[in-house]
């Protein structure tokens, strides 16, 4: 499997409110599949086996608030996959794109963003902490744009 990480990704300006409303109404499967594919490329190869086992088979909802974008993912059979739009989630994470980018680049601390309510995590706190600590230990998934 070809892997290349960390990847470089420029920050995008958030869309205007009207477009954001439209995005929020679109089906979540296409962005979920895209995100799953990206994570299978940059995260899955670096995920320790014990963490992959512990994180498996639970649905996580990720909301990018300033884009109105929502994805649902699960780690199943060793791969990140999109998860159904309905039904319970183990963890819901919500933040603006800038906060996600700072976390993915290793520039920020999830606890600090959490204190400021720039990052919201709801649901299974233990699962959320495992996810946070696992990602912290792995290190940045993105580089700053050159």
């Amino acid at each position: 499997m070809k892997t290349s990480f960390p990847i470089r990704l420029p920050a995008l300006p958030p869309p205007p409110a009207a477009l954001r409303t439209l995005i929020a109404r679109l089906p979540i499967q296409p962005p979920s599949r895209l995100l799953a594919a990206a994570l299978n490329r940059v995260l899955r190869p670096r995920l320790p086996a014990d963490a992959a086992l512990e994180l498996a088979d639970r649905t996580v909802e990720i909301e990018v608030r300033d884009f109105g974008l929502r994805c649902r993912l699960a780690l199943r059979d060793g791969r990140f996959r999109s998860a159904p739009d309905h039904g319970p989630v183990a963890l819901r994470i919500a933040a603006d794109s800038a906060s996600y980018l700072r976390l993915l680049r290793g520039d920020d601390d999830a606890d600090r963003l959490f204190f400021e309510r720039a990052l919201v995590m709801e649901g299974d706190t233990e699962y959320g902490l495992l996810l946070k600590n696992t990602l912290d230990a792995i290190g940045p998934l993105l580089h700053r744009p050159a």
């Binding site: 963490a51 512990e54 290793g106 520039d107 920020d108 601390d109 999830a110 606890d111 600090r112 959490f114 204190f115 400021e116 309510r117 995590m121 709801e122 706190t125 233990e126 959320g128 902490l129 495992l130 996810l131 946070k132 600590n133 696992t134 912290d136 230990a137 792995i138 290190g139």
Partner: protein
């Protein structure tokens, strides 16, 4: 061994900067940012930050030690919970593992663990953990004479004159906390978390075990519950703290406020000249549960401040950029000198 008293009589001693590492990545960033030593724990209840996904397995510990040692730095292992009397073997096995890894020092609190290390690994350097809650030089001397501890980490309950008195009279090295989240500050004796969950830092290595924490969004804001006990309710844009009982807001005499402790961080940068003058051996940064980004940035600030203070102690001043950088990472975004500056005793 050079004692604090000796150091006090000559030049101010440059304290070692001891930084937290919850992962191998945090360890390497701390070393690169200028830590003289890092402290870490194993992935079990033998250390007071026993959280999922945090800490080191033996292979990671080996890599971390090699990384630090190749750069002339030290790795200390926190083995600072109290051994379960029904099965202390896990703690003893962790001591053996630490000795096998060639760790530079063990940080322990439990007398059974200290005695085991003393008897089975007499060459292993022992530090007395803050969890032992030794607040007087007489208590520290007891641990030094009985178990051979070389350094004691002082609980964050002492005023600056009290710290000075301990330094002046103790033959062991003294380490103090410099920066990080504060709790109710009865280290080694806090059972608040046990009250709600049955688990506490001293028994299971966790305060507010995450499996017991629930954040609930409701019409009146976000509620934080610990095993069903409501410990705080935040308005939508209100900053949050760690979901611990000591930092909850409760109704007392009809008023809802922080009954025990407000979320805040200790920051003793301003006290550096005095601490160095006392002959403090080491300054500890709290936060093994925090991200590598926190560890790197906080370490960088403290490295610069200690070097600056050592170079010109009389002209030392806290740089505004240091305060701003540390303020960014502080819990509650508030700084305090903690008990060091407390007017009462």
């Amino acid at each position: 061994m050079q004692t604090s008293r000796t150091a006090h009589a000559t030049l101010p001693r440059k304290p070692a900067l001891v930084c937290p590492a919850g992962s191998l990545r945090a360890l390497t960033l701390a070393i690169d940012a200028g830590a003289d030593a890092v402290y870490m724990g194993l992935k079990d209840a033998t250390n007071a930050r026993n959280f999922a996904g945090l800490n080191f397995d033996l292979a990671q510990a080996r890599d971390g030690i090699a990384y630090a040692r190749s750069r002339g730095r030290e790795v200390l292992m926190a083995l600072n919970t109290f051994a379960d009397a029904r099965a202390p073997e896990r703690w003893f096995a962790a001591v053996d593992a630490a000795a096998g890894l060639g760790i530079d020092a063990l940080i322990c609190a439990d007398t059974a663990v200290l005695a085991y290390a003393r008897d089975h690994h007499p060459d292993l350097r022992l530090h007395l953990s803050v969890q032992a809650s030794a607040t007087t030089w007489e208590a520290i001397e007891f641990y030094r004479e009985r178990y051979g501890i070389r350094r004691a980490v002082l609980p964050r309950v002492l005023t600056l004159p009290q710290v000075e008195q301990v330094c002046r009279n103790s033959a062991a090295e003294i380490e103090v906390f410099g920066f990080g989240s504060l709790c109710v500050m009865v280290e080694g004796r806090c059972a608040l978390s046990s009250y709600a969950t049955g688990q506490s830092p001293n028994t299971a290595g966790v305060c507010s075990p995450p499996s017991a924490v629930r954040w609930e969004d409701g019409a009146s804001g976000v509620s934080a519950r610990l095993n069903g006990v409501l410990i705080d309710r935040y308005a939508p844009d209100e900053p949050r703290g760690y979901p611990t009982l000591c930092k909850g807001r409760f109704e007392v005499d009809g008023a809802r406020d922080y009954a025990l402790e407000e979320p805040t961080s200790l920051n003793t940068l301003a006290l550096l000249p005095q601490l160095m003058d006392m002959g403090i051996a080491a300054i500890k940064i709290e936060g093994r549960q925090r991200s590598p980004a926190y560890v790197e940035q906080v370490t960088r600030v403290w490295r610069a401040a200690i070097d600056d203070c050592a170079a010109q102690p009389a002209r030392f001043g806290v740089q505004p950029q240091w305060t701003a950088a540390l303020g960014r990472w502080a819990e509650g975004q508030q700084h305090t000198l903690g008990a060091y500056d407390r007017p009462w005793r």
